[in-house]
Each structure stands twice: as C-alpha cells, then as structure tokens.
Amino acid sequence: MVSLLALEKLTVRRGECPVVDRISLSVAAGEFVGLIGPNGAGKTTLMRAALGLLPALGHSSLAALPVATRAHAAAWLPQTREVAWPVSVETLVALGRTPHLPATGQMRAADHAAVEAALKRMALEGLRFRSAAQLSGGEQARVLIARALAQQAPLLLADEPIAGLDPAHQITTMEVFAGLAAEGHAAIVSLHDLGLAARHCTRLILLGQGRLVADGPPGDVLTGANLAEVFGVRAFYARTEDGPVFQPLEVVR
C-alpha cells in the first residue's frame, strides 16, 4: 500500500514542554483515520506539524516537501471556519484548485470538473451562487469541506470538520470521508464524537498529553482502560447489527 504520510518521532515543544511528544505513525491510501483525544491532547498541533505549518523536531514526509508540491499531496481543513470576504460558494470551493492553476490563474476543464464534483459530493449545488457570508454555520462548514475536496489531494487532514453540524450532516460528512478512503484516498480527521468515530473510521489514533496512547481499529482503541486513562470516562461499547455503538456514560475521575 502507498504510504501517504509518515511521521518519525515528531515532536513540537512549546517552551520546554512537549505538546506533541515523539509521535511515529504512517497513514496509507484507503485509510480513514480518526484522531481522538481530550482537549489539549495535541491533535491540532500534531496535524499542523505533520503538514509543516509549525516548526517541529523529528521527521514528517509532508513537511519535508516543498510548499507547492505539498499542496498536491495533502489538503488541510483548519478548525476555524474562516471566510474573510463575501465570495460566492462556487468561488470559495474553487479556491481548492489554487495549487493546480497555471500562473495566469485560469481555470481549466479539469478544475471546473473538480469543483462540480466537490459541490455535488457535499450536496451544495443549490447554494453555488449564494454569498458565503450569508450561509449558516453548518452550511459554511460544508462549503469549506467541499473546498478541501476540490483540492483532490490524496490525503485530507481535517480538524473537527463535523463540529456544529446537525446529525444528518455529521453522518453524511463522515460518509464522504469514508467514501474518499474507499476510492483510494486517505483522510485524517480529528473529532470528539467517539460514537461517529467508532462507526465510520477504519482506524483510530488516541492521543493523551501529546503522546500516542493507542493506534488501531476502533474496537482495539476504545477499550475501557484507554477511555478511563485518557478521557476519564466509562462508556458503553457494543457491536450490533447496525454496526458498532458507542456511548460515554459517566466520568470516572
């Protein structure tokens, strides 16, 4: 399998304190990786460092690439949903094509096709001429996901992309990421909804205080011991006919 991301003892320090502590992992095509962990565990920092957006020690295959090449290798969807100007939805999604455009900035047939596909995938065709400034929070989140999809990079890193979406859109969005993985891309998505993570991700990476605590299929990661140690909660977890079901029950600390 093609490795799309390889980290070797990646470490980010804030002052003396390591925020991301000697993390090594690799992600291959076809994987939908859920990055989980409590607040402040280092999820965002890990992804940004892996992309080379933060200075870090150790090695990241993405950060080692030149900036322009990296944009072809990975797309990044930050947590802050920033849309500074009232551009149309279609224009915003088309920004995902930035790395593919020639110096003139002219969109070509492949670019238009990619934008169309992304709009369709996120069911945004009806909003294409709307100003991004007039969208609801959830709509804006979906538009920004479509923007990342339009980039058509083999690897997508997304920081809490489903936060603030209604249940239906949370599920469809998770299905979009799973679909990407099934097509031979890969996605690394940080999220707090462990239930959705358990149901849709092919693999979970659990971070605690900057260190990698567990890495594997959801069932192997979401063990009672891990949950108690890292999250401080007890949870219900079962494989049912409808797939895995996960529900946190109580705080154990």
């Binding site: 940004r48 992309l51 957006l53 900036v67 322009a68 990296r70 944009a71 072809h72 990975a74 797309a75 990044w76 969807l77 930050p78 802050t80 920033e82 849309v83 500074a84 100007w85 009232p86 551009v87 149309s88 224009t91 915003l92 920004l95 995902g96 930035t98 790395p99 455009l101 900035g105 100003s131 400034a133 920004l144 923007r147 980039q151």
Partner: protein, 331 residues
Amino acid sequence: MLNFRLLLVLLSVLVAALFGASLLIGPAGLGVGTSLRALLAGQGEAAVLVMREIRLPRALLGVMLGASLGLSGAAMQGYLRNPLAEPGLIGVSSSAALGAVIALQTGLAAMVALALPLMALAGAVLSVLLLLMLAGARGASLTLILAGIAVSAFAGALTSLALNLSPNPYAAAEIVFWMLGSLSDRSFTHVWLALPFMALGWVLLAPLGRGLDALTLGEDAAAALGIRLTRLRLSLVLGTASCVGAGVAVAGAVGFVGLVVPHLLRPAVGGRPGRLLPASALGGAAMLLAADIATRLIAPERDLKLGVVTALVGAPLFLHLIYKTRKEGMW
C-alpha cells in the same frame, strides 16, 4: 456580479475620460482645440508650456498616485482580511510623509534627488512592519485601528516638529500639505521621481492576487494551498511601501482612496481579493483624477487640498464601515 473583463474595460474608459478632462480643465481657460494642438504639436508657445509642463504631469501623477493608492489599499485589506485597512488610516502615509519631510529638511533631498522617495519608502516600511507586529497576521479591527492611530499621531507629531524647526518660514505652514496632499503645480520632475518606485510597487503587488484569494480561508489554509506566506508578506510590505512612499513623497498623504475604492468595487468583483487588485488600481486612478478635478472646480484660486475632497467622500464611508463591522461582531 459584472463580467470581470467588462468591468476592467469600463473602469479603463472612465480613467481615460477623466484623464482627458484633467488635461482640459485649468485656470488658463484654453479651448479644447487649442489645448489638444498645444499638447500634440507646436513649439515654445505659452499654451504648449501649459499643456506639456503643467497639466500633463499633473494628470499623469493623478493616474499614478490613484492607481498606487487603490492597489495598495486593496492589497493590505486582502492580506489583513479587514476592510478598514487603508494606508492613510493606519499611519503608513503619515510615516512616509515623515520620511519625506526629514529628507527635505535635512537637505538630503537637495543633495541626492532619490533621497526623497527613498526616505518616504523607509518611513512607510517601518510603519507597515510595526503595524504587522502590533496587529498580528490577521489584523483584528480594533488593534489595527488603534495601532494606526498611534503610528499616525506619532509620525504626524514628528513631521510637525521637523517643519516647525525648519529655518524656512514657509515650512511650518506646510504641515497641511503633508497631511492632506495636493497635486497642484507638480511637474515632470515629480513624475520621474515617483514613477520607478511606484512601478516597483505595482510589480510587487500585482501578482499577489492568487495568494490573497487563498488567504480568504485564513493563513493556515492558504499555506496548505501552496501559498508561500513569507514571500507574500515581504512583497506586500515592500510593494505597499513603494507605492505609498513614492506617492506621499511627491504629493503628500492623500487619505481614504485605498478605503473607498476597494469598498465600492468589492461587490463588482464578487468579493475576490485577487480580482479586486486591478479593479482597485483603475478605480483609484479614477477617484484621484476626479478629486483633483474637483479641487480645481470648487476653489480654483485657493489650492484646495486633495485630501479634503477624498476625506469628504471617505470619512462618512469609514464611519459606515465601522458601524457595519461592529454590528457583525468583528471587534
């Protein structure tokens, strides 16, 4: 949203028309025929001197200065993702004026002509760097405006000090020129002095469109889209400083052009910061020419300052923008 090419064509026609009007309007009261003949043919007559040495450089400077201010305003707003970022309001112009006044009053400009635009440019660079440092990468409105007020006030005070200490009795009266700007009686000397620096600024700022577009999504997303932010920032700082510095060095600090023009044209380009760059450059040229014509029509014998006219249009708009920004909770 207008077709982008059509918009640029319309703006170009407007600039050309105002350029023509600027050439034809003046206290000498020459007829249209006489003016054009004097401009294109003829030797040594008084009308030729008026057209070629007085009105032509003034109109050219109007285009150059307006385009520079419009372009740098659009670029700064795009970079800071803030519609209030304007070279005049955030103190870049007044810092450039300080540089220019220092060059003039120390006699540096008399020794080396280039010292004038260079010192103005240096003043502008310093203030832009200071602002980026204070306001941060994403210029939060409040910080940006407060930092701008502080920089403006400080540069303005030092400018006044330099002019008050000048041995020249006229210098102190010219604080108003440096604060409001004027194109009256500018000559080709000024055109040639400013043009290389402005051109450098245009060359640096014009290609930033793609990066500014991507910055709509924030710094992180733009960086991940392959935009080299360090290079973009450097081009922006040097480009804005060259444009504003050269403009201020020859015509004083004309405010509000970089605020009004991008604001008016933003809907016409669908909010895209990249497309706003050429549109704003043309729009800025049109606004400045119109304002300069207005100064000649309103008070022909009084040397009404350019900044008075642009502020009359710009200041109410500025208040409106602050009101709107506050309502949208950007503070």
